[in-house]
C-alpha cells in the first residue's frame, strides 16, 4: 500500500501516538486476554452455586463479592467477558459480511441492483433498530445465536453505504481501467483495489459496532431477553445487580464498569483509527 491512504506503517505510528486510542487499544487487549484465559484471572467456577454465601461483599475469598446465588462475581465477570465479547464480534462479523456484499454488489454493478439494494438500505435505516431486535428476539428465543444474528442483521447498513461509496469512487479511476485493459477480472479488482481502501472505514465501523453490540446485549438483558442466566454475560450480571443496587453495590458496579470501560475503549480506538487513516490529516 504505497501512496494510497489506508493501513500501513504510517498509520500504525499515527495510531500509537494518539494516547487515547492507545489506551483504548490497551483495554481491548486486556479484555481479550481475560476472555481467552479466564483461568488466569479467577479460580472459582462461574456457575457454582453456594447458598450459604449469597450476596456477600468483596473479601479475600471473593474479591468482587458474590451474587444472588452465592456465585463468585469475579469468575462471572471474567467468563462473561468471553460471552459479551463474542456477541460483539460475531454480530459485527455478520454485519460486515452482509454490508460488504451488498455494498460491493451495489457499487460494482450499479444500475437496478444498486437502486434496489440502496432502497433496501434506506428502508432498514428507517426502522428503530432496537425495536426490530427486540421484536425478533421476543418472537424467536433469547439464545446467544439469535442475539448475535439479529444484531448483525440490523447493523450492516452503514458498512454497505461505506463500501458502495468506496467502490463507486474506485471504479472510475484510471488504474482500474488500466487493470481491466490488462484483462483483470472483477474479483481481482475488488480484492486488490477496492477492499484495501475500505479496510480502514470498515475497521472503524467494526470497533463501533462491537461497542454497540455490547450495549445492546445489556439492554436486552434488562428487558429479560438477553443472554439467559445461568450463562454469565455482563448484561445479565448488571441486571441481576440492579434490584439490589443500594445494598449489594458490587453486583452492579463491576459488570457496569466492565461494560463502560470496554465500550469506551472500542470507541476511542475506532476514533483513533479514523483519525490515523485519514489521508488528509497527514499534512498537519
Amino acid at each position: 500500500m504505497n501512496g494510497t491512504p489506508g493501513i500501513g506503517w504510517d498509520f500504525a505510528r499515527r495510531l500509537l501516538r494518539n494516547r487515547l486510542a492507545a489506551a483504548g487499544g490497551a483495554v481491548i487487549l486486556f479484555f481479550f486476554l481475560v476472555s481467552a484465559l479466564p483461568g488466569l484471572f479467577s479460580t472459582h467456577e462461574p456457575n457454582r452455586i453456594d447458598i450459604v454465601n449469597i450476596l456477600r461483599p468483596p473479601s479475600g475469598a471473593h474479591p468482587l463479592g458474590t451474587d444472588d446465588l452465592g456465585r463468585d462475581v469475579l469468575a462471572r465477570v471474567v467468563h462473561g467477558a468471553r460471552i459479551s465479547l463474542s456477541v460483539g464480534f460475531v454480530a459485527v462479523g455478520i454485519a460486515i459480511a452482509i454490508g460488504l456484499i451488498v455494498g460491493l454488489l451495489a457499487g460494482f454493478y450499479g444500475g437496478w441492483a444498486d437502486a434496489v439494494l440502496m432502497r433496501l438500505v434506506d428502508m432498514m435505516l428507517c426502522f428503530p433498530t432496537f425495536f426490530l431486535i427486540l421484536s425478533v428476539i421476543a418472537f424467536l428465543e433469547p439464545s446467544i445465536w439469535n442475539i448475535m444474528t439479529v444484531i448483525g442483521l440490523t447493523g450492516w447498513m452503514g458498512v454497505a453505504r461505506l463500501v458502495r461509496a468506496e467502490t463507486l469512487s474506485i471504479k472510475e479511476r484510471d488504474f482500474v481501467a488500466a487493470a481491466r485493459a490488462q484483462g483483470a477480472g472483477s474479483a481481482r479488482i475488488i480484492f486488490r483495489h477496492v477492499l484495501p481502501n475500505t479496510l480502514a472505514p470498515i475497521l472503524v465501523a467494526a470497533t463501533l459496532g462491537v461497542a454497540g453490540a455490547i450495549l445492546t446485549e445489556s439492554a436486552l438483558s434488562f428487558l429479560g431477553i438477553g443472554v439467559q442466566p445461568p450463562t454469565p454475560s455482563w448484561g445479565n450480571i448488571l441486571t441481576a445487580g440492579k434490584d439490589n443496587i443500594e445494598y449489594a453495590w458490587w453486583l452492579s458496579l463491576f459488570p457496569g464498569l466492565a461494560i463502560l470501560v470496554t465500550v469506551l475503549g472500542y470507541n476511542l480506538l475506532g476514533e483513533g483509527i479514523r483519525d490515523a487513516a485519514d489521508p488528509r490529516l497527514k499534512g498537519r
Binding site: N47, R48, I49, I51, I54, L55, D68, L69, G70, I137, A138, F139, L140, E141, P142, S143, L223, G224, I225, Q228, P229, P230, A240, K242, D243, N244, I245, E246, Y247, A248
Partner: protein, 546 residues
Amino acid sequence: MNGPPYRAALPSILLLLLLASCSGGKPESAGKGTTAPDVPAYGDAIVEGSIGDVSGFLTAVTSDASSHAAAGYVFNGLVRYDKDLKLEPELAESWEISPDGKRITFHLRKGVKWHDGAPFTSDDVMFTYRRMIDPRTPTAYGEDFKQVKRAAAPDPHTFVAEYGRPFAPALASWGMHVLPKHLLEKFPDISKSPLNKKPVGTGPYRFVEWKTGEKVVFDASPDYFEGKPYIARVITRVIPDQATMFLELKSGGVDIMTLTPPQYVRQTETAEFKKSFNKYKYTASGYTYLGFRLSHPFFKDKRVRQAIAHAADKKALIDGVLLGLGQEAIGPYKPGTWAYNPNVRKYPHDPSLAKALLAEAGWKEKDGVLEKDGQPFEFTVLTNAGNEARAKTAAILQQNLAEVGIRMKIRTVEWAAFINEFIDKRKFDAVILGWNITPDPDQFDIWHSSKTGPKELNHVGFANSEVDRLLDEGRSTFDLEKRKKAYYRIQEILAEEQPYVFLFVPEALPVVQNRFRGIVPAPAGITHNFIKWYVPAGLQKHRVRP
C-alpha cells in the same frame, strides 16, 4: 364485616399495640404532631405501585392481575373470599343450596345502588350470566357459567341458578363481578363498551380517571353498602421496574408495594426503614413445580421421577430463591387450607436414595453421568425468560441433578413463545412453571385425563383413573367432608406418582407505609379488609377534595 363493631376493632387494637411496641411508642410522621389520637378517620390517599398497567376494567374480558386488582375496587360479585379464604356474602346477603345440590338460590342485598344511582337488582345478575355464556363476549371465564342449566330471577332480590348436576365450584364462580345491565345492554361486545375504560360498579370505590400507562385514580364511594371506606382515594401508579418502585417507596412516592425476597431480607431491616414502614408476610396462593412430560421415555418410569424429587434440594431452593421466605410444596394445595393433606409421601433431599432409585430403573453411572442403553441421562428443562425466581430455581436444580449424574440443560424462552410453541404443542422434556392455587380445591382442568389436548392445562399428560374419578366426586358434592376425603386421596396419589416435583410455596411480601392503620394479616393476605384501613387524622398526607 357484619358483626358487632368491637370484633373488627379487636385485631386492629392488637395490631396497634404491636406496632406501638415495635416503633418505640409513637409513630413518626413528617412534621405532624406525634400525639395524634389513633382513631379511624376519613381522608388521605394511598398510592400503590403496580408493575403492569390495567388493560380494561371488566374482569370478564381481561386476564391480567393488574386489571383484576383495579376492577376489584369498583365491582362486587355475589360472593367473595374472606380473610380465611372461605366464601362469604358480598352482593348476595345469603344463599341456599338445595338438598340435591343442583340449585343455588341467592338472596340479594337490598338497597344497593350502582355508582350512577341506578338500583342493583337480580336483572343485573341475569344479564351478567347471559353475557358470560354469550359467544360474542371475548371471555376466558365462561366455562363455569356454561354448567348452569337454567337461571331465573323470580324477583328483584332473588336469583336462582340450576345445574345439571351438583357442581361445587359453582358457588365460587359467582364471585365474578356483576355487570350493570342498564349501561351495557346495548353493547353486544362488552369489551368494546365505554365501561371497560370508565367502569361503573357497586363497589367501595368509584372510578375517577385512568391515564393509560401512568395511573388510575379511585375515590371512596360514600354510599357503599358496607360503609364508606376510610381512605378517601386510591391511586395506582404504573412503575414497570421493581428497582425504581422500591426507590419510590423510600422517597414517599408509593405507599404500598410487594417486595422481592432480597429487598425484604436485606434492604428493609434498617431502623430508618422500620420507622416509616411495616412489612408483612403471608403464604402466597401459588406454587412452583418441575413438571415432566410423562410420555418422555426417561420420565415414564415413576422411580425416575421420584429419584429426581429426592435429588432436588428443596431447602436450598427456598433459601436460594426465596431467601428462606417460603415453604416446601408437597402437593398442589396451599398449606393451612382445609383441602391440604399434610400426610402424603414426602421426598427429603437424599442424593444416595435418588441414585439407588435410578439404578433400580436401569441407569448406570459412567464418568459421573448416568447412562442406559448407551444413552446419557440428559434432558432440557424449559422455563420462561425474564423471571428471576424461575431462572434461579433452574440453576439450583441443575446443580442438584448433576450431583446424581443427571445432566439438565436450561432453556428459557419468552412467555408468549413459550406457551404457544412449547407448552401448547407439548414440545418439551420438562418445565419449571407455577400455578395459582384457587381457594376452591377443584383442579379438574389440571389433572383430569380428558384435559390433555393441545392448549389444555394437563400439559404433562397425567392420566390416572382413580384421580379422574375422585376429581369428579370432589366437584359434584357440596359436602365438605366428602370433598375433603376425595382431595386428600388425590394428593396421596399425586405424591406417590410425582407427575410434578412440587417445589415450593413462596411467601407474599407486602410493605405498607406505616401511617396506614387497621391492617390485619390473615391467610388471604392483608387487603381483605381494605375498606377498614385508615390514617389517623394527624398523620394524613394528602388532602383529598371530594
